[in-house]
């Protein structure tokens, strides 16, 4: 509801300006967190697509480089197994790294506050 000017001004001051500062932590753990999750998920998805483990699994029995003879098929099969293993491993590493980055977002505010208090108070104590 549109309010009289005084109320609008008060609202502006309290909600928009003061709230703009105080709402920061709330935003960080609500809409900010959603944005961050999206961002990180996209990042992860692009790595997963690049490493393409699923493509390799699907083609496990398809010979590589068009070598359809028995030897070629055998070599391909093992080669693919190795590649699947390597790529899965790489994906795991990347996922762990991304997970860590993802988590940092959540623990960053308390850490920052704690560090500020520790160093700030410690200096002046």
């Amino acid at each position: 509801m549109a309010q009289p000017l005084v109320v609008q001004a008060a609202k502006l001051f309290l909600v928009d300006l003061v709230g703009g500062v105080l709402g920061f932590p709330v935003w960080w753990y609500s809409r900010g967190a959603v944005r961050w999750s999206h961002f990180m998920w996209d990042w992860y998805a692009s790595y997963r697509a690049t490493l393409a483990v699923d493509v390799w699994v699907k083609n496990l029995f398809v010979p590589m480089y068009g070598s359809y003879d028995i030897a070629g098929r055998l070599i391909s099969f093992f080669m693919r197994l190795v590649m699947i293993f390597l790529r899965s491993f790489l994906l795991l590493i990347v996922s762990i790294f991304l997970m860590i980055v993802y988590t940092i977002y959540y623990i960053l505010p308390p850490v920052v506050v704690a560090a500020l208090l520790y160093h700030g108070l410690g200096l002046f104590a």
Partner: protein, 912 residues
């Protein structure tokens, strides 16, 4: 475009009849509308105080962001200096450095928190339009139109309309309020809102597309604005929005939602205001912007935004597509030979080297369905220039995004260049190359082949009688089913080279039609951006429409959209060269280019020409003596044609000129050609006495199966803008006349080769001596022309022509026999010609009245009209003159006088 046609009226109705909760006494500033499950509500104020407050808030916001940046920057700088410059590196190795409280660490953490806060401010301030690019069906709940009822809407999501407006839109809203205030109006109305948005750049862009300027609508808008009620004493000024204005604002929110946008732009407000105001519609109509043009321009803006969204999605998807020979599942092998004779289309697409395909969804679906249902090869059959290659490129684009049937997934589309395949090779070598290349395709397993103009490989044989044709070889290999093929060809080539061959059995034929007008416009709209960016000009909508319309009408031997695209580039270049960067291209510019390309006068009627058209009778009479009825009739028809009042599906005019020989029938035809087509020679002349037996039709339209047009059709095809003179029509065989029935009616004729020849830009004149004897005798009796004509049509002509044939003429013109005065005038005209020629030699030539009469009498023959006159003038005037000249009896500056009895008197000029 079909899609828009379905949705647009819907949208118009929706926005114009939006049932909304209007502002009430209790809540004078709030209004809202329930759309689907969201309640769009406006709860901002536009009065002066609120505007100032908003401005203050913006300034403070900016100040806070600036302050945050400044503090963070300073902290970072201090941290860097104190840690890396002031402290020795060894300090870092001590545990105390890390554990003890220190100012450097404090600065570090302050920087971190500052960065976090800046990130937060940026996220809050970000209100970029998020385009989902999809139109959404929106249902409006009609009943809840009071705030009482609105209370029940608490369960729904409340969307604050104000917070969704872009800064640009807000500026427009503020401008609207300022405008209403300046006028001292009680309310902010729809027109204030509309006018406020006009100064915003995105609406300015819209105006440029519409091809109009603000100046053109300024006056009516100002008049109408003055009609709003003024604020009375004690009332507020411009602090509330009136109901129509409320609807306009809410409509803008609905419009944005319908287009899948989360923000409201000035264009949304513009559209909503336009839809809700008959006055605005009328005003735009007044400057030649019809409802349809407005729709199409709005659709155009949408197309561009969709295209941008599609492009971004494509770039993202193409990141994963390999651009080399190897596919993602590593099953491919190297294909050295194939690589030499082909281009990799998917790699090109992934590197953003192919244009995007516009429209053609149904055709694409059909092609993909072939592959989905187990087919392995298609041939796209369509005329040159309709976009066969664009569709193949479109398939490559989809293959990059992997939005294709399983058969095409993780493959590359490779286009074989037949030229390179056969270059420098004997047919046997070419066959070997093709086999080797196909072998590579088969072994690699990740390749879909494209062969543009597949008809090129038909007819390449190794020589001896039993040897295989290259195309049969390809067909054989196709049968084995180890590769996928997408080929293209033209209908004629398909008919001649492929139909009935082995290849036809292996290929699934997909016919492609020329895009219709709306589709072509859409394609041009999508392509226009490139030309605009290159040349720095702007196409208005009517220019784009004209490109499609005029090329469709005048360039018959080419096809859309190619012909329009080529002329689009030419027009852009021409306008830049003439008017410089930033010019807007109008319909006239396009008309000029098409006019040059088609050799047709198209640019709108100029002042000079206007005068010429109005005085057409005089112009024609300068060459044709007498025959006022004929001249008047012809002039009227030509004026109708040039002012675009005629139907475009028939010839400009069809006339039947009746009358005895030598009365000016052919002369009038020549005069028409000279006046209307600018050249006496712009004429295709057929002597119909040469078409007296039915088989002569082959000469007219060509021999069936010969793949060549006839004499007549070819002549008109080469000169589609000109006069067609059918001399002595009554002599032609009745079967031949039937051919012309169609020409008179539809303005087109199909020749033996299957090409359609266009007659819509011709004037057809048939002359006939039928009934001339009757005309002569009746005129002598003093019967009126009307009576003669009626009798002619009913009695005399029916011997030669069937009534339905006669009815197809726009005018049957009866030429009257010449009178003695006419013949004298003609003689005068002819002698003018002689005078002109002598004038070039510096000799003055005069004829006495008596001599003129003598010539006319000698040259007049009731049977042959004025025809003998030419011979008489030759004998009695030109021959003696020639003798005089040769004998040297006349010199420059002398005067020759022709007197009675054929006497030539030379008056010597006084010596200098």
């Amino acid at each position: 475009m079909e899609e828009q046609k379905e949705i647009q009226p819907n949208e118009t109705d929706l926005l114009a009849n939006l049932p909304f909760v209007s502002a009430s006494e209790e809540r004078p500033y709030d209004f809202g509308v329930l759309v689907d499950q969201s309640f769009f509500v406006w709860s901002d104020r536009l009065d002066r105080g609120s505007r100032a407050l908003r401005k203050t808030k913006q300034s403070i916001d900016r100040f806070i962001t600036f302050l945050a940046l400044l503090i963070t920057g300073v902290c970072l700088a201090l941290f860097l200096v104190s840690t890396f410059v002031l402290l020795p590196l060894s300090a870092w190795q001590t545990t105390r450095f890390w554990t003890d409280p220190s100012s450097a660490q404090l600065l570090f953490w302050l920087t971190i928190s500052g960065l976090m806060y800046i990130g937060y401010r940026r996220a809050l301030g970000k209100r970029e339009p998020t385009e989902r690019g999809l139109r959404e069906d929106v249902s409006v709940h009609p009943l809840q139109t009071t705030w009482e009822a609105a209370k029940q809407m608490q369960d729904n999501v409340w969307v604050d309309v104000g917070s969704r407006c872009t800064q640009e839109a807000w500026k427009g809203l503020d401008d609207a309020a300022v405008l209403a205030e300046r006028f001292g109006h009680r309310y902010i109305g729809l027109l204030h809102l509309f006018t406020g948005q006009l100064s915003q750049p995105s609406v300015g862009h819209l105006f440029a597309r519409l091809g109009i300027t603000f100046e053109q609508i300024k006056d009516p808008l100002t008049h109408k604005l003055a009609e709003y009620p003024k604020a009375q004493a004690g009332e507020g000024t411009a602090d509330r929005v009136d109901p129509l204005g409320q609807r306009a604002i809410l409509g803008a929110a609905v419009h944005a939602a319908m287009h899948g946008r989360t923000v409201i732009t000035p264009v949304d407000l513009f559209v909503s205001a336009y839809r809700n105001s008959p006055f605005l519609q009328e005003m735009f109509y007044g400057v030649d912007i019809q409802e349809e043009a407005m729709e199409n321009v709005l659709a155009w803006l949408q197309i561009r935004e969709n295209l941008r969204a599609r492009w971004q999605a494509f770039r993202k998807a193409s990141f994963l597509k390999p651009t080399g020979n190897m596919n993602r599942s590593m099953t491919a092998v190297a294909t050295p030979l194939l690589d030499r004779v082909s281009t990799d289309l998917t790699a090109q697409a992934a590197r953003a080297g192919l244009p995007m395909l516009i429209g053609r969804e149904t055709e694409m679906e059909r092609i993909l369905r072939v592959f989905e249902s187990g087919g392995r090869s298609v041939v796209l059959v369509g005329q040159p220039g309709i976009g066969k290659q664009a569709i193949v490129d479109g398939i490559a684009e989809r293959m990059v995004k992997e939005e294709v049937p399983a058969l095409l997934k993780d493959r590359r589309l490779v286009s074989i260049d037949v030229g390179r395949l056969v270059a420098g090779a004997t047919p046997a070598q070419a066959e070997e190359r093709l086999l080797l290349a196909l072998n590579e395709v088969g072994r690699s397993g990740n390749i879909a082949l494209a062969i543009p103009n597949i008809d090129d490989i038909v007819g390449i044989t190794a020589g001896s009688a039993q040897s295989l044709d290259l195309s049969s070889l390809l067909a054989q290999e196709l049968e084995k089913g180890y590769f996928v093929l997408i080929a293209t060809t033209t209908p004629a080539a398909y008919r001649d080279a492929i139909e009935g061959s082995a290849l036809a059995n292996s290929l699934t034929k997909v016919d492609l039609d020329e895009p219709n007008k709306n589709q072509a416009i859409q394609i041009i709209e999508a392509k226009v951006g490139k030309s605009e960016a290159e040349q720095g000009v702007l196409f208005s909508y009517e220019a784009v429409e004209a490109l499609v319309d005029l090329t469709a009408r005048y360039l018959h031997d080419q096809f859309l959209p190619d012909k329009a695209i080529r002329l689009m580039e030419e027009t852009a270049l021409m306008v830049k060269q003439r008017r410089g960067i930033g010019a807007t291209i109008t319909k006239q510019d396009v008309a000029q280019i098409v006019s040059t390309a088609a050799k047709v006068p198209l640019a709108s009627v100029t002042q000079d020409e206007k005068e010429k058209l109005l005085a057409l009778e005089e112009h024609l009479h300068a060459r044709v003596i007498g025959q006022s009825e004929a001249v008047t009739m012809v002039s009227a028809a030509l004026r109708r044609a040039r002012a675009e009042m005629r139907s475009g599906r028939r010839p400009i005019a069809n006339f039947l000129f009746l009358g005895p020989t030598g009365v000016g029938k052919t002369e009038l035809s020549k005069a028409i050609a000279a006046t209307y087509f600018g050249d006496e020679e712009a004429m295709v002349r057929l002597d119909m006495s040469e078409y007296q037996d039915p088989s002569s039709i082959h000469r007219l339209i060509g021999v069936p199966g010969s793949r060549q047009g006839g004499l007549f059709t070819e002549a008109v095809r080469k000169q589609p803008f000109g006069l067609v003179l059918l001399d002595e029509l009554e002599k032609a065989h009745p079967e031949i006349l039937n051919v012309f029935l169609q020409v008179f009616d539809d303005g087109r004729l199909t020749d033996a080769a299957g090409r359609t020849v266009d007659f819509t830009q011709t004037i057809i004149v048939a002359t006939s001596n039928a009934g001339s004897h009757y005309i002569q005798t009746e005129v002598k009796k003093g019967i009126t022309m009307d009576q003669i004509k009626t009798h002619l049509m009913e009695e005399e002509l029916s011997q030669y022509y069937r009534p339905e044939f006669l009815n197809r003429f726009d005018g049957v013109v009866v030429f009257t026999p010449l009178t003695m005065e006419d013949v004298m005038a003609i003689a005068h005209l002819m002698l003018e010609g002689v005078r002109g020629r002598l004038d070039e030699k510096g000799i003055v030539f005069t004829v006495s009245d008596a001599a003129l009469k003598e010539l006319a009498v000698a040259g007049y023959d009731p049977q042959f009209g004025a025809r003998p006159l030419r011979r008489v003038i030759q004998e009695k005037v030109e021959d003696p003159l020639a003798t005089l000249l040769l004998e040297g009896k006349v010199e420059r500056r002398d005067t020759v006088v022709l007197e009675t009895g054929g006497q030539m008197r030379v008056e010597k000029a006084p010596a200098l």
